[in-house]
């Protein structure tokens, strides 16, 4: 059985994490719809409410027939997708399974403790060092010339689509999802960015 087939018969748990205000809601909504277009049974749940005000936010996304609750168990996610470096570390340690995959956008929004000088700053090297301890493979995503920070989530989407990180989920599935969720100049800008990220290979 191929990997895609195995997952389609079981489950794939994606644990999304970031800081309130980074656009994790849109990231999660695009992923759940793209996976739905690719034929997965889908289930999810996001952080809403006050926690969105600059706090840690997560979204649980579960694909495949063998799920009941939308909540992913600790240390059992197959993949952690993070919008920020510190939260990437947190998500990996709390929820990623040993041998899982971490994909993160490498911007850093320091925690209060780091800003007060009470805690050391987390670097990209530190992420790799911590990942090694858990046999986790790390993909650092960053786009130097990105003008609008609000589109960092789309850079991650483009990366996931281009590398087919959700098996069987093709760029066209993502395009349909994006079309469902955006309109006007926002759709135009995001689709242009998406296309530029998936057409390279």
């Amino acid at each position: 059985m191929s990997r895609t087939q195995t997952i389609r018969n079981n489950k794939l748990d994606l644990y999304l994490i970031g800081v309130g205000g980074q656009g994790i809601g849109m990231l999660s909504e695009i992923l759940i719809r793209a996976a739905d277009y690719a034929g997965y049974p889908v289930r999810g749940v996001d952080t809403h409410g006050l926690a969105q005000r600059g706090g840690m936010v997560v979204s649980n996304l579960r694909l495949g027939p063998k799920t009941f609750t939308p909540l992913i168990r600790e240390q059992q996610a197959d993949m952690v997708i993070a919008l920020e470096r510190n939260e990437a570390l947190r998500g990996m340690i709390t929820h990623l399974k040993r041998g899982g995959e971490l994909v993160y956008y490498d911007t850093s929004w320091q925690t209060l403790a780091a800003r007060l000088g009470q805690e050391e700053d987390i670097t990209a090297d530190r992420i790799v060092a911590e990942a090694d301890k858990l046999d986790v493979s790390v993909e650092r995503v960053f786009k130097e010339d990105l003008e609008d920070a609000r589109m960092q989530n789309m850079v991650l989407i483009g990366h996931l689509a281009d590398k087919e990180r959700i098996p069987g989920t093709k760029p066209e599935d993502y395009r349909q999802a994006i079309n469902d969720l955006m309109r006007g100049s926002m759709l135009e800008a995001n689709m242009m960015l998406f296309d530029s990220l998936v057409n390279q290979g």
């Binding site: 289930r43 909540l71 570390l89 340690i93 925690t111 209060l112 987390i122």
Partner: protein, 633 residues
């Protein structure tokens, strides 16, 4: 773009990926609900967002955000006794506010039907407690349905409506945070718009509606009879259902989110079906279907009651078993931990391991240490509350007492501000502050209150402080909106949910209530605010400082929508910076980042260029960046 409106108003049966809160609104449309009222509070505000997606002219029901939960409940009650199907929704602790009228509802003949939707918050994700509102069902004789998934939210609302209209009684639909916000593909039925009968059908002959002395008892008897009828009805419905795994030894009785978690945890023993306990999943959680529960008990040697929060089911089921002399071993709560937190799959696994150590495979989680501290929510870049707390802290002595209230400004209690040291509930601050001021000549008392909260529950306290001449300063943190729950309008906004209206200005309200000494400033004028607070706390009696600045998250979003947003940033002039660190350590806008060598830089992702920070730097090293630039070279 797929419009939520089209999902809400589709005539044909359809399916769509939605959250539980949106599924609820579709159910309201299909059910022919006529009047809906609410007060915003997590986890329910997205219900109103789905309602808002339907333009007012096409919305088949009336909706309003009322000034508080009690008002909303009474409005929905009034509509119901006039013959209209009504619904009210609010968060868990909102029921405490509504309670005075809510507990009366079962005494009343609700001719139009009425559903009370409660968003409980096990895990206290966005609430000051995790109270178990199943108690209110018992207290008020109002039956309660509890869905586990968005699909069940939709289905059970329709079921609640059917029971409510049949029995002319209120029904509670109890949602919890991760039911409200869970998303999945939900199948909806078709919708045929009804021709509504607008005739006001209220008649005292449908009552009695005045529960005074001798009338109370027939009304209570009728309520209890209806309660028993619903219990009977449960047997003929599939609201409660058994999943038979052919296990004679072990059974589990559960509901809602714990049921889903249980299903997931039991996947771990998929290959060994013999061990899998039978499950009785309750959808009608009050009143209990005694017959079904008794037969489930009798069929098993041991039954675990797997319930989140309190032991509501456990006590009733144990008492039932006692009366019926059933010898099944009933396993309930096993220590305080079982009473706490949401029953996530991890929690359910822990609870089951304590109960039946042999049931689940060996625990596989490893010890891992997290090198970073938690990231609680914080005030946004540009937030007017930050510009308020910074000078207010300077105006006060460190022994003075600051009282928090509910709103984004509650976050002021976190370091480095530490402003607002005690919190009970919406609108408590003036009154707790008044109590703290008694026999107290040593420490000034300052109470914070948001504008929306003032209208919600703050008014009686302000009147009391004037009436009884208390000695404290109220600081009204006016941001023009109900920010914390997603920017709902309030009476001072100049707009309600449906249309523009004349604003009821906060200052006029204070004046009207008899507050004589009122100061007012925009919080970005930090020096001015500091002087005002110094003056206010040094004068005796009750006075108020209006610390005003629009919510910058709302303001910048509106600007972006209108195309008037200018992408400004600040930067640190490294020539001028002598690393005093007031910007990172005291003002603490999250935009400022600190390098290990002490260098401060500006995170452009976060900065909105509001410039409120410029005045906080003793060496004036924070400056506006050149256009298109920003950050630090």
């Amino acid at each position: 773009m797929k419009e939520l409106k089209d999902v809400m108003l589709a005539r044909e049966a359809q399916s769509e990926i939605v959250i539980g809160n949106s599924a609820l609104v579709r159910a309201m449309v299909e059910a022919g609900t006529r009047v809906v009222a609410a007060y915003p509070g997590s986890p329910t505000p997205e219900i109103a967002e789905a309602i808002k997606a339907i333009p007012r002219k096409e919305r088949p029901f009336y909706f309003e955000f009322s000034t508080n939960e009690k008002v909303a409940t009474e409005l929905a009650f009034g509509a119901s006794i006039n013959g209209h199907l009504s619904t009210v929704f609010f968060k868990s602790v909102g029921l405490n506010v509504a309670a005075d009228s809510f507990v009366q509802l079962s005494l009343m003949e609700l001719t139009g039907g009425m559903v009370v939707v409660i968003g409980d918050d096990p895990g206290a994700n966005s609430s000051q407690n995790e109270q178990d509102n199943r108690h209110y069902s018992q207290l008020s004789y109002i039956p309660m349905l509890e869905p586990a998934t968005p699909q069940e939210v939709y289905r059970m609302y329709l079921e609640a409506v059917a029971i409510s209209r049949r029995e002319k009684m209120p029904i509670i639909l109890r949602l919890t945070t991760h039911v409200c916000h869970a998303k999945e593909r939900v199948s909806f039925g078709g919708w045929k718009p009804l021709e509504f009968d607008d005739k006001p059908r209220f008649s005292s002959e449908n009552g009695p509606y005045v529960p005074i002395t001798r009338e109370v008892f027939p009304m209570k008897r009728r309520a209890l009879n209806k309660w028993e009828k619903v219990r009977e009805y449960a047997s003929s419905s599939d609201l409660n259902r058994i999943e038979d795994n052919n296990n004679k030894k072990r059974g589990i009785i559960t509901t809602g989110v714990p049921y889903l978690s249980l299903q997931d945890v039991l996947q771990d023993l998929d290959d060994d079906r013999q061990n899998k306990p039978d499950i009785l999943k309750l959808g009608l959680v009050q009143p209990l279907d005694k017959k079904l529960i008794l037969s489930f008990l009798k069929e098993h040697q041991e039954v675990k009651i797997l319930e989140e929060l309190d032991d509501v089911l456990e006590l009733q089921i144990k008492s039932l078993a006692f009366d019926e002399k059933i010898e099944t071993r009933i396993l309930g709560k096993q220590g305080i931990e079982d009473w706490m937190g949401e029953y996530t799959p991890d929690k359910v696994a822990r609870v089951l391991r304590r109960c039946w150590p042999d049931l689940l495979p060996k625990e596989e989680t490893e010890e891992r240490s997290l090198p970073i501290s938690p990231r609680p929510p914080q005030m946004c870049p540009g937030c007017g509350h930050r510009s308020a707390f910074h000078p207010i802290k300077k105006a006060l002595d460190k022994h003075d007492i600051t009282v928090a209230d509910i709103g984004c400004h509650t976050l002021g209690f976190l370091p480095p501000y530490e402003m607002g040291e005690v919190l009970l509930s919406m609108g408590h601050s003036t009154n707790t502050g008044a109590g703290l001021s008694l026999f107290n000549d040593e420490r000034k008392v300052v109470a914070f209150l948001g504008d929306s909260t003032m209208f919600h529950a703050g008014l009686p306290g302000i009147v009391n402080a004037v009436f009884n001449d208390h000695n404290l300063t109220l600081i009204l943190m006016e941001n023009g909106t109900t920010a914390m729950t997603g920017h709902q309008d309030h009476p001072a906004s100049g707009q309600n949910f449906n249309q523009k209206v004349e604003a009821i200005p906060v200052r006029q309200v204070l004046e009207g209530l008899g507050v004589k000494e009122i100061y007012e400033t925009d919080t970005y004028a930090q020096d001015r605010l500091q002087e005002m607070v110094e003056q206010a706390v040094s004068s005796s009696g009750f006075n108020a400082v209006i610390a005003r600045h629009p919510c910058m998250l709302k303001f910048t979003r509106e600007q972006r929508r209108q195309g008037s947003y200018k992408d400004k940033k600040v930067k640190i002039d490294q020539e001028e910076c002598v690393q005093i660190h007031e910007c990172v350590s005291d003002f603490a806008c999250p935009t400022f980042q600190l390098e290990e060598d002490g260098t401060v830089w500006v995170q452009d992702d976060l900065c909105i260029g509001d410039g409120s920070c410029l005045q906080t730097c003793p060496t004036r090293a924070i400056v506006f960046a050149e256009q298109g630039g920003g950050g630090d070279e």
